[in-house]
């Protein structure tokens, strides 16, 4: 059986919608809400914004901020200048110059490692590509500078991160590994002069192979 269509009297509906309640009371209620919020805001009861930069929001653990070059136990870079990051980089912002390391077990190290922070798109591909956990990201997002030269971060700038304790580590695919071995040196000093540096313990070597387990990739 065909269902009877419901007939709506449009004129009656229009009348009801333009009733006194909706036409006059509605806006008044709304206005009341707005004024209430205003009072709350003015009195400091509710605060939608934060006082940046004195206050900051907590970013995600996977936030992709400025890069960090991690160090070995002795403070030299973990990086072996394999160019994986530079190869993966879609913005072509990584410049590496390799050199011969005196230790045959390390063999190769970056004499230069520059990241052009203005070119970088913070995609995190370099971190994904790195086979040595040598490059990870921080949650640091304040990268302004007065000159273009300052936005070219060299290896020293990428390794020594005094501002790191303030922001914390960002994107690092091997989070458990990095976090279990991460070490800031020197540990505690005056807050302003912290020369923070992430250090991975030497037993990381074994774990790198786990990272590259093709069955898990």
């Amino acid at each position: 059986m065909k269902k009877q269509a419901k007939v709506i009297d449009v004129s009656a509906r229009a009348e009801s919608e333009s009733s006194f309640t909706k036409g006059v009371l509605g806006p008044l209620v709304g206005m009341g809400l707005t004024i209430n919020r205003m009072v709350d805001n003015l009195t400091g009861k509710v605060n939608a914004t934060i006082r940046y930069p004195e206050e900051r929001r907590a970013y995600s653990d996977r936030y992709r901020g400025a890069h960090i070059l991690t160090a070995r136990e002795d403070g030299s870079p973990r990086c072996v200048a394999c160019y994986m990051c530079a190869t993966a980089c879609p913005a072509d912002c990584i410049y590496i110059e390799p050199a011969e390391h005196p230790d045959p077990l390390i063999e190769k190290y970056p004499a230069r490692f520059d990241i052009d922070m203005l070119r970088c798109v913070f995609c995190g591909f370099c971190v994904d590509a790195c086979p040595e956990e040598a490059i990870i990201m921080s949650r640091e997002s304040e990268l302004c500078a007065f000159t273009r030269e300052e936005t070219m971060w060299d290896i020293k700038r990428l390794m020594q991160r005094p501002e790191l304790p303030e922001f914390g580590l960002g994107y690092r695919p091997n989070q458990t590994l990095v976090d279990s071995t991460v070490k800031f040196t020197p540990k505690e000093k005056e807050k302003k002069k912290l020369a923070g540096r992430v250090t991975l313990k030497e037993d990381v070597e074994m774990i790198i192979h786990v990272t590259f387990d093709p069955t898990k990739d």
Partner: protein, 536 residues
């Protein structure tokens, strides 16, 4: 001709060919480490195992001769399983240090792992047998014993190709390592080849070490400019910088080899300052930069003036055996147009050294890639008698003007400075001289006009080697400054002199040359690619 079935496909093999060779001829690569087409067969790596019907076990394809009616399978599960097993064994003690290894990107271990392996290593790094790393083996080679798969290609190379036998296996069991006795340096002139033939990163190049990752490089097919052998090479370059030269396999010329001098010859190009603009000597006797058009007009009018006052026989054309055939052809055509009859190219006794072998493998004494081309194009005359004759004639006043092309040889020999001195002497004696060269030098002040030209690898062109084989060399990098290829300079001069000059590329010049020079008649540019074509 034995016929056999390879993976269900009827394939014909040459008599005496092994399965791997016959398969390679038909574009099918059977995985291998120890087999190399230009080395004796060893059969030790076991990577090329294939299934042959009616044989009880898998058999190595590199040692098994093709028989008529053989049925070979190289792609079924049984073979793949075996290859995977072999690869796993080879990788047991491999340090997996691909990030620091220069071979990464062109490593057979990586390639085959991605095809056949993809297994998880059961051996943790701490349990692997450690061997020595970064062993300095002379000027060309760095050895890493850990990465070696013990294929013995390097050992066989030194044993059978150079016959010097420097390398050998040392040790037993899984402690076997390759090396030289007491780490003595590999100082024979072909040692760089072991780097190419090493399928893994055990032997890497000292010169190329850490310079560039191989996947960034672009390859251009070329011909070595180091001597009259004309080995076919591949130029690997990036952003206008040449990083390395590798031999291209050419059975007719160099097989898979290249001498160390040739391999390093490209460094000579970046050695010394380049001339970037045409220079013309003014009335004050100082060379001043001019545009190409001005230079071409002034050269043409001056040469014609000298011809009209002193006769065409007073104009000398002195070519360089390092220039391409196309360059020499247009050089001759331009001077012929002026009526000049005096041609030569010999700074030394290139024509005699041309076919003289420096050793039994590749090298020839003549360190110019195109002496034969110059001879074939008629640029050698007893009338002039080499540069000595030209200097004497100029001193006697018989020669007034000269167009001289000079390139510094890419491979140095003791007599080079004297040869350069003779060019200077010639320029000094000539009343009016036009010098085409690529690199700056003090003595070039003597020339009336200096024209900057493209050096080897900066222009396309053909070279004729000692046996008359014409081979095409591609353009790898851009010319510096306003320099032009030599052929283009003469095309411009021909245009300035009012002659026809229809060439837009070296290819066009080659076509004209093939049409008008009887020696080169009938050959096409395609023929000059691998393996090249021998002209009469």
């Amino acid at each position: 001709m034995p016929k056999f079935t390879l993976n269900g496909q009827e394939v014909e093999a040459k008599p005496g060919q092994t399965i791997i060779q016959a398969a390679a001829d038909h574009g099918m690569e059977i995985p291998h480490y120890c087999y190399h087409p230009d080395l004796p067969i060893d059969g030790n790596c076991r990577m090329c195992l294939v299934e042959v019907e009616k044989m009880p076990k898998l058999t190595p394809a590199c040692t098994t001769l093709v028989n008529d009616g053989m049925v070979v399978r190289s792609e079924n599960e049984r073979v793949k399983e075996a290859v995977r097993g072999v690869l796993e064994f080879l990788l047991i003690n491999h340090p997996v240090d691909c990030p620091v290894c220069d071979q990464a990107g062109e490593c057979r271990l990586q390639d085959y792992y991605m095809v056949y392996g993809l297994h998880t290593s059961e051996i943790p790094l701490g349990m692997k047998v450690r061997k020595r790393k970064v062993i300095d083996l002379g000027p060309m080679v760095v050895l890493d014993q850990e990465r070696c798969v013990l294929c013995s290609r390097c050992i066989r190379f030194f044993e059978y190709v150079t016959e010097t036998g420097e390398m050998q296996f040392f040790g037993r069991g899984d402690h076997v390592a390759i090396g030289t006795f007491e780490d003595r340096p590999l100082d024979n002139p072909y040692s760089g080849n072991v780097v190419d033939i090493c399928p893994v990163g055990a032997l890497t190049s000292r010169d190329f070490r850490f310079k560039c990752r191989v996947w960034f490089l672009h390859a251009t097919d070329s011909v070595c400019g180091g001597c009259s052998t004309g080995c076919t090479v591949r130029i690997d370059h990036r952003d206008g910088t040449i990083f390395r030269l590798l031999p291209r396999r050419n059975v007719e010329v160099n097989r898979s080899w290249l001498c160390d001098e040739g391999r390093l010859s490209f460094h000579k190009l970046s050695d010394g300052e380049r001339i970037t603009r045409p220079l013309v000597k003014g009335r004050d006797g100082v060379q001043a930069p001019v545009t190409w058009e001005e230079a071409a007009r002034s050269i043409d009018s001056r040469l014609k003036e000298i011809r009209d006052t002193n006769g065409a026989a007073s104009i000398l054309g002195f070519a360089s055996p390092s220039a391409t055939n196309e360059a020499l052809f247009l050089f001759k055509r331009y001077l012929d147009g002026l009526g000049a009859t005096q041609f030569d190219f010999r700074l030394d006794s290139e024509d005699k050294k041309l076919a003289d072998e420096e050793d039994q493998i590749l090298r020839h004494f003549d360190k110019h890639p195109n002496s034969m081309g110059a001879i074939k194009l008629g640029l050698m005359s007893e009338q002039v008698g080499g540069i000595e004759g030209a200097i004497n004639a100029a001193r006697a006043g018989r020669l007034k003007a000269g167009v001289v092309i000079y390139f510094k040889p890419l491979v140095e020999r003791p007599g080079d400075a004297e040869a350069e001195g003779r060019v200077l002497a010639l320029l000094d004696e000539l009343e009016y001289s036009v010098l085409l060269t690529s690199h700056k030098a003090d003595w070039q002040d003597s020339a009336s006009v200096v024209l900057p030209v493209a050096a080897w690898s900066e222009e396309e062109g053909t070279y004729t080697n000692f046996e008359g084989r014409v081979q095409l060399a591609g353009k790898a990098i851009e010319v510096e400054g306003n320099a032009l290829p030599v052929w283009e300079v003469f095309a411009m001069l021909l245009h300035a002199s009012g002659a026809e000059s229809p060439w837009m590329s070296a290819e066009d010049v080659f076509a004209t040359m093939a049409d008008s020079v009887s020696v080169f008649s009938g050959i096409t540019l395609d023929q000059t690619r691998l393996p090249g074509v021998v002209v009469g």
